[in-house]
């Protein structure tokens, strides 16, 4: 699910320092990240995230025109392929032993469709 209000606010908020995130922005980020925050946590993250963003703003000083983004430390390494054959056994009972709620081999969650 896309949070259109947040996406809109982010796109139109320019990143001019000093950058301070609002309570609403923190709440929206937490919603996107699926993190339930208590009301006392919000100002803490408002302060620290604002300072972190200000700190990483130092990256703007670097001249990066025509520099390719580096996503991986080993240049030229490509994803290996393997033959399309079954290599795993069915171990679902063992895996589901760690699940909070299971019935008949299925993971249980609150009802999604009324």
């Amino acid at each position: 699910m896309y949070d259109f209000a947040l996406v809109f606010s982010l796109r139109h908020a320019r990143r001019e320092p000093p950058m301070a995130l609002t309570r609403e922005q923190i709440a929206s980020i937490a919603t996107l990240a699926r993190l339930d925050l208590t009301s006392s946590e919000v100002p803490v993250y408002q302060d620290s995230l604002s300072r972190i963003l200000d700190f990483v703003g130092a990256l703007d000083r670097a001249q990066t025109t025509n520099v390719a983004p580096m996503s991986h430390p080993l240049a030229g390494l490509s994803q290996r392929l393997r033959p399309d054959v079954v290599s795993e056994q069915d171990r679902h009972e063992q895996y589901q032993a760690n699940a909070p709620q299971v019935a008949a081999g299925l993971y249980l969650v609150p009802k999604v469709i009324e």
Binding site: A33, R34, T38, L49, I52, A62, P73, R82, Y107, P110
Partner: protein, 487 residues
Amino acid sequence: MSGWHTGTLTQLAAGLRARKFSSVELVRALLARIDASQATLNAFISVTREQALSDAAAADRALAAGSAGALTGVPIAHKDIFCTQGVRTTCGSRMLDDFVSPYDATVVARLKAAGAVMLGKTNMDEFAMGSSSETSFYGPVRNPWNPQLVPGGSSGGSAAAVAARLVPGATATDTGGSIRQPAALCGITGIKPTYGRVSRYGMIAFASSLDQGGVLTVSAADAALLLREMAGFDANDSTSVDTPVPDYVAALEQPLAGLKVGLLREFFDQGLDAHNEQRVREALKVYEQLGARLTEVSLPNLPLSVPAYYVVAPAECSSNLARFDGVRFGYRCEKPRDLRDLYSRSRGEGFGAEVKRRIMTGTYVLSAGYYDAYYLKAQRVRQLINADFTRAFASVDVLMGPTTPTPAFAIGAKTSDPITMYLNDIYTIGANLAGLPAVSIPCGFVQGLPVGLQIVGPHFSEARVLSAAHAFQRVTDWHTHVPQGYA
């Protein structure tokens, strides 16, 4: 407390093979040390007593039968980020408080196959996010040199355990300095290998383009022995590199004379404590006397490594930690109203403050409208830093400098300001961004606290870096110092 059981890993492995003592005797002695230290150091999350004793008995049978491997009967500990089949694996988080791994990490399986005996799982910053081992759900780890101080992090439990001689060696992981910084602060040896050298399979992911497993030991020779057994290609890790593992132990004695050492100008900056700098400069003198040729080199983009890291690492963390949803494994909140509530409250209650901070930072820098300005920008800066290293290694064999700006700091001193905490890793993060192997070795003391020297090499130069560390340890004894009360 002093005795045969506090020897180095190399000595203990030799003693076991010579049948000077049994693995059961050794394991019993070390379990007693772990028990005696736990209230002070809190280095362990789980102690696997029964399994350790039965594995030790099996090791003794193998030693008697002459079918022993390189590490048969040698006790070790695993950072609680490595999955251990049938043993609780928490990653220092409430989220995984009751998680019992259904499989072994490749590192765990390989060390087991080499005969090592696991004594337990070590404490750490939650999901390896921290530089002080204070963010653990199981309480902070304390530094054996002074229990008022942090041991560094995130592998603080492994570092404290080795420094206090509770185990002769322990596994650890390093995403931004989490092996080298605690090694420096606890006065031991630590190596972060080249990205792709050690399998990440079964190593709980934090930032997948930076995470790398390694070891913490007393000496470089011990590190060479452990690393030789756990490194190598693994089809289960898509970024594992298929190149042969050299015999790091056999390569230890390669001559040092003529080694071209680059001193990183950016590492000797204003932030470096003057006493720390003095110890590092003295160590460099030792290298000069051993025949190394020292030159100063500059990596102009290196000062941007911390800001680049604090965009890239949180971005990858926010993606990796999306798997913790309260459905398939891990913590689930009480009485969820609906699926959305189940996700948000399970995550909100299951993760600690620093983990949530990084997930939110990552979510923000990856969000539409900010992806280019933060995430892509950081990846471009990462490219510049990587190019700086490549340029430097065209003229020198290894780079040297301090591991940390200061010795160990007080528990609680840096928890209120994340930026101050992040700056602890200012000298270590570069090697992670470029995927380079790097060690930290003890090189002296400042007011009774250990100081680390860092050695960084080109990709896959673990043998060179370890042998350079070993050459220093042959003529100095800093690595043999044991904290008071743990000798």
